[in-house]
Symmetry: C2
Subunit: 199 residues, 2 copies
Amino acid sequence: MQYPKSLEALIEAFARYPGVGRKTAERYAMHTLTRLTKQDVDQFSEALVQAISAIKPCPVCHHLTDLEQCEICADTHRDSSRIMIVENSKDVFSIEKSGTYKGKYHVLGGALSPIQGVGPDELNLSTLWQRVAEGEVKEVILATSATQEGETTALYLKRVLSSTDLLVTRIGYGVPVGANLEYADDQTLSKAIENRRVF
Amino acid sequence: MQYPKSLEALIEAFARYPGVGRKTAERYAMHTLTRLTKQDVDQFSEALVQAISAIKPCPVCHHLTDLEQCEICADTHRDSSRIMIVENSKDVFSIEKSGTYKGKYHVLGGALSPIQGVGPDELNLSTLWQRVAEGEVKEVILATSATQEGETTALYLKRVLSSTDLLVTRIGYGVPVGANLEYADDQTLSKAIENRRVF
């Protein structure tokens, strides 16, 4: 027996999400029909349409925002001499949550990946060169992921920016705070040892 | 920094799903905004509203359907003398996929759970008694889960049905086909040994 058509459509919609296989999508769809109220579902449906239409990338830094320019770019109290470069908007929210950074950001919208066909043209770089050319920036902080792609992207940016007199830094990688050494993987431990400092 | 309001609403909508914590909901919401097309999102939004309005429980067996009466109840080729009792509509789809059962179903909409306050009145039982009373049914197959709640429900139904001359059976529980014994948990192994048969 096939699922009713509208249930199948819902399962397929859920299956478009990362880490959601067919089984999980079925579970979410059944949950929608058997556990949520009509009101919950209407709200969800509305939230989807609202979010996709209201939220756009900031024209300056590409961070997601529902304003003309994102809160961070618009905030004149923030240090415009520093730009932290991250892969995704999600990273901006994470770093902002930590509350330790008071400069600006630039969201690349991904990382270089020759295998997946992501080259420099697929990233938000032209706006970055433009911001750098304006002369206010003194330091570029590379905060791409500690993955192969993130590393490649950091190296690429470092090479391109080496022709300028900008200070190019990379955030520290190592054992997460609060984590037990025995649970850290080899690469994290190598990074941690490599990044050791005088205590 | 707070998430933009419409993004927050979307995160909260995703977080209503089983096994979806705040982090996962954030990931789904970001995926919606950065990886899906406007068309995908519109389809998803539409699928939600469509499904909740088109799909209802079958008035006979409570299985989810977009028809007046579900395909299984409406199918005159199926054996009306057997009713298999399951907890959820999902179970019907699973059993139908296996293709081994040709009788009818009855979906309880849950299982008895004194702890969660689910008593007989919360399950779809009145329609079951009605179907049984009509006299066509000869066998009731209890296919509730192999959990505490499923077991309680099966015992309850067995007790109530013992006053009738219906054959009451329970589906077999044991080591899943294709599974290695060493990965089976103790309770599954106990069940498997208890359910042994002459070979």
